[in-house]
């Protein structure tokens, strides 16, 4: 029996392997397929911000993983040149959980739409948040199903006319930040594709957070929900209210209260707190278990287990 004694790769302080040397990436290196989004789609700005983030991140290109579910937004992985995964609708969070737990040396970034995240995939958010699995998730919220051409999404506002609500949606919309805060996400921020500087700032903060970090990014669907976010874009006559300076990001109730503000709502970091990640607690369990049969090879451990059954 080949003895590999497979274990979690050595875990650095915050669970990621420290880069040995500088790995500045260029835009050219990160370029992949030409995006197939509609001209003017908000998603372009998210892609640009991600590429900028990676340029600044200073980690080896091969350690970045871009993952997504299904949707216009979820086409993301094809447009950036990293290891990447285009999974199925609504389940990329548990997929990334498996990856994150077994490969602490990687940087998993998940990009998904509001339908993928909160309709079919809603439960996985709650449990990833509760378990605090280390990954960064960017929800590109256009308040509509883009890829399937304009059906109501959980985040569609009341009155939104879609092909499945021709008379306007009558149902309370899901509030992403509220959901995320209450389910225990340890980093929750909100931004908009139309404000690239703010977007990049939020991505950086999320990336630096050790735990389950989620950014809700309003990203306009020009095709099926054009103008929906104008109210949050100053140059279109809207306003861009930042989370108040005196907000305590570690205060869950205060963060929850922030989510009450009507559209356009607050932008910035709502909640941020450090608590053990599932990655850490699992690594601890492994650490304790492995230390017991000291220095034994996997096959020796197995052999003695089997011998106990004779």
């Amino acid at each position: 029996m080949q003895d590999t004694n497979t274990s979690f790769p050595e875990t650095a302080a915050n669970g990621t392997a420290a880069p040995e040397h500088a790995h500045t990436l260029t835009k050219a290196q990160l370029k992949a397929d030409k995006p197939t989004w509609c001209p003017g789609c908000g998603d372009f700005a998210v892609l640009a911000a991600y590429q900028k983030l990676l340029e600044k991140l200073n980690v080896p290109q091969e350690s970045i993983v871009t993952l997504s579910g299904i949707g216009c937004s979820s086409r993301f992985p094809y447009f950036v040149n990293t290891h990447s995964v285009h999974y199925i609708h609504g389940r990329i969070l548990p997929f990334t959980t498996g990856l994150s737990l077994t490969r602490p040396d990687l940087h998993p970034f998940v990009f998904i739409g509001d339908g993928d995240a909160f309709s079919i995939g809603g439960n996985h958010f709650d449990h990833c948040a509760r378990k605090n699995v280390r990954m960064t998730v960017i929800v590109m919220d256009n308040q509509v199903y883009g890829l399937t051409k304009k059906q109501t999404s959980p985040t569609s506002p009341v009155g939104f006319r879609s092909k499945t609500d021709p008379w306007g949606s009558k149902v309370t919309a899901l509030n992403p930040t509220k959901k995320l805060i209450s389910s225990g996400a340890s980093f929750v921020a909100r931004t908009i594709a139309a404000n690239p500087a703010h977007l990049l700032e939020m991505l950086e903060e999320a990336t630096n957070h050790d735990g389950f970090s989620v950014v809700e990014c309003l990203s306009e669907c020009v095709q099926f929900n054009g103008g929906c976010f104008d109210g949050a874009v100053p140059r279109k006559g809207g306003e861009f209210p930042l989370v108040p300076d005196d907000h305590d990001v570690t205060d869950e109730e205060a963060a929850y209260a922030l989510t009450k503000k009507r559209f356009p709502g607050y932008f910035g970091v709502y909640y941020k707190s450090r608590r053990p990640t599932l990655n850490e607690t699992e690594a601890e369990i492994v650490g304790q278990a492995e230390s017991r049969p000291k220095g034994l090879l996997a096959s020796e451990v197995l052999m003695s287990a089997l011998e106990r059954l004779t």
Partner: protein, 611 residues
């Protein structure tokens, strides 16, 4: 194979020999213990099984699980002996009845001429019936004696251990070994617990049942020198997975799969791995696929309902070509069905779960030993071909204990985690070769990083709706299985290579079908059998084999079509177009008995098949 010519407890009452007439050495014996689930009959059963293993005997057990949480009537049956034990036993030689209901429900199962050992504190047998069936009654006031031995505190907790003592005496078992077992069983518990257990054991051993049962002692098995392990199929599966190299798993609990995940959750950390209990089955397979994508050897599992929930992701695993082991410990279906009964009705699901043309490997272990070794083979195949492997165990295999030779790990191949050395260039879905993904973390020197995707894709993983691409990629995914088929060991016929009747089986019925062949032989009828471990792809050469027999009966525990064929029967008909293939199927939630199989064979009907 059990040698029928050796002296044995009379299986056939027709030969008229009374059990009481001659003291003798027995080759094997079937003991059924019937009581309530709280009585600890499972631990006596398990101890007997382990003892058998330690005495180099063969053993197979069978138990029923009460349908309600609050417990209820339950049995544990142990078939142990010096020969090869292939079934848990159609009928029992000895019935232990703790209660009146145990006696009433199970007397039918005791063979004529057998022994009834009953707790006379609770049971009043009908002597007339016993006499008519030449059954030897042996009443022991087990409950009151146990209370007496343990000091009269009203506990009946040691009743099962008291019984162990009785049986040790009756079968002349090695008491040193028995005491050791009991000490192991209660290791870590309070001193007084062990003391009480030993008291109860000795009490039972000291009790004289008269000359009824002290007449037996097991024949000395041939010493192989190799120690035997005894365990359930679920345990063997978990150990097999570890031996195979699995270092990540994710699942959601469901009977009768749960023990596999519980054990892996406990054990994997010792090997540097981990097992995740997820919020549901969809998350479970997703997490397992995520870990597999990361290069860790990975698995998930469930029973029928949970596998159904994994269908969409199974289709993804095929499309994205991610190696993964998917275990289905089948139970009675459909829907919630019969959660604690056995059935083989998930074969169609294993073959076809998920949408589109999604070829995957399907394998099934024939016995507990197979659960260990075949799962290693399954993991190897998954990784060699970058394909999901469906592994079909079932409730009977999951819960029954068998003994097999302690594995020699040095002869086994473990799948290592995927290498991550830098590559000059890499195409995720190269059409020229079998897919082998470069896990994330792998540097690709030409700077082109791979996409893993469920959309139809070009060789480098980018989406494509090009007609030729889809046709070529579909063929690529299918051809892996064609290649695997060529690699499979040729199916082996047990018994004559040609003849009147071939029994074909798969999964947990392996032993029962072989025993049927043997039993028929002892009755002067020649049968052959063939057991399939590989169900997709099927091994080559089946048609030629089938053509050598006039009738091919596929024995399976699932429902039949109008031609009498079950799931495998239909599959083999589709594959070979042979009408001589028919089914012996049933859906009563119970394992086949040898008798049931033999009774359903045609009476020397040798007319050639009509095409």
């Amino acid at each position: 194979m059990k040698d029928q010519s050796l002296p044995a407890l009379d299986k056939d009452p027709a030969d008229g020999a009374s059990i009481l007439s001659v003291p003798r050495t027995i080759r094997d014996s079937v003991i059924r213990i019937a009581g309530n689930s709280q009585d600890g009959i499972q631990s006596v059963g398990a101890m007997l099984a382990r003892l058998a293993g330690r005495s180099e005997m063969d053993v197979m057990t069978y138990m029923t699980i009460p349908a309600t949480i609050s417990g209820g009537p339950s049995i544990f049956q142990v078939h142990m002996g010096a020969g090869e034990v292939l079934t848990p036993g159609d009928t029992s030689d000895i019935l232990v009845a703790f209660y009146q209901h145990s006696y009433e429900d199970h007397l039918d199962n005791l063979r004529d001429g057998g022994i009834l050992l009953y707790d006379s504190t609770h049971v009043r047998p009908d002597i007339g019936v016993l006499r008519a069936r030449r059954i030897t009654p042996a009443g022991v006031p087990m409950t009151s004696l146990t209370i007496e031995v343990l000091g009269g505190t009203g506990k009946q907790k040691g009743k099962n251990i008291f019984l162990m003592g009785l049986l040790a005496r009756a079968f002349d078992l090695d008491m040193k070994k028995v005491r050791k077992l009991i000490k192991e069983r209660f290791a870590g518990k309070d001193e007084s617990v062990v003391r009480n257990a030993l008291l109860a054991l000795n009490g039972g051993y000291a009790y004289s049942i008269g000359n009824v049962m002290s007449l037996y002692s097991f024949e000395e098995p041939e010493a192989t020198g190799r120690p035997k392990v005894t365990m359930t199929g679920n345990q063997a599966l978990a150990y097999g997975a570890i031996a195979a190299g699995v270092r990540f798993g994710a699942a959601y609990p469901i009977t009768p799969w749960t023990e596999v995940m519980e054990q892996l959750r406990r054990d994997l950390p010792h090997y540097g791995g981990t097992f995740l209990q997820t919020e549901d089955e969809l998350a479970a397979i997703s997490a397992a696929l995520g870990a597999a994508y990361g290069g860790t050897v990975s698995m998930t599992g469930s029973s029928g309902p949970g596998i159904a929930l994994k269908s969409e992701a199974i289709s993804y695993a095929v499309m994205a070509e991610i190696p993964i082991l998917i275990v289905d410990v089948q139970r009675g279906g459909p829907s919630t069905g019969l959660p604690t009964n056995v059935e083989q009705s998930d074969l169609n699901q294993a073959l076809h779960a998920g949408h589109g043309d999604a070829p995957r490997v399907v394998m099934a272990p024939a016995n507990v030993e197979d659960c260990f070794y075949l799962v290693i083979e399954a993991v190897r195949i998954a990784h060699k071909y970058s394909v999901p492997v469906m592994f079909l165990s079932d409730q009977a295999l999951a819960t029954r204990i068998e003994a097999f030779n302690l594995p020699d790990l040095s002869t086994l191949k473990q799948v290592p985690p995927a290498p991550r050395e830098a590559l000059a260039t890499h195409m995720a879905y190269d059409l020229e070769s079998i897919t082998c993904h470069a896990p994330p973390g792998t540097r690709i020197k030409d700077g082109k990083y791979p996409n893993i995707t469920g959309l139809e894709h070009t060789e480098n993983g980018h989406p494509s709706a090009n007609p030729k691409t889809h046709a070529a990629m579909t063929a690529k995914r299918r051809d892996k299985l064609v290649a695997l088929a060529r690699e499979l060991p040729p199916p082996e016929v047990y018994g004559p290579r040609e003849g009147e009747i071939l029994l074909v089986g798969w999964g947990s019925t392996g032993g029962i079908i072989r025993e049927s062949v043997d039993r028929a032989a002892s009755q002067g009828r020649t049968l052959s059998s063939l057991h399939l471990r590989h169900l997709n792809p099927l091994p080559e050469g089946l048609e030629e084999i089938f053509l050598r027999f006039q009738h091919v009966f596929v024995v399976e525990m699932n429902d039949c079509d109008t031609n009498g064929c079950g799931h495998l029967g239909r599959l083999l008909r589709a594959e070979t177009c042979l009408k001589r293939i028919r089914g012996i199927t049933k859906t009563d939630g119970l394992s086949f008995r040898v008798r049931e199989i033999l009774q359903r064979l045609p009476e020397v009907e040798t007319a050639a098949e009509t095409p």
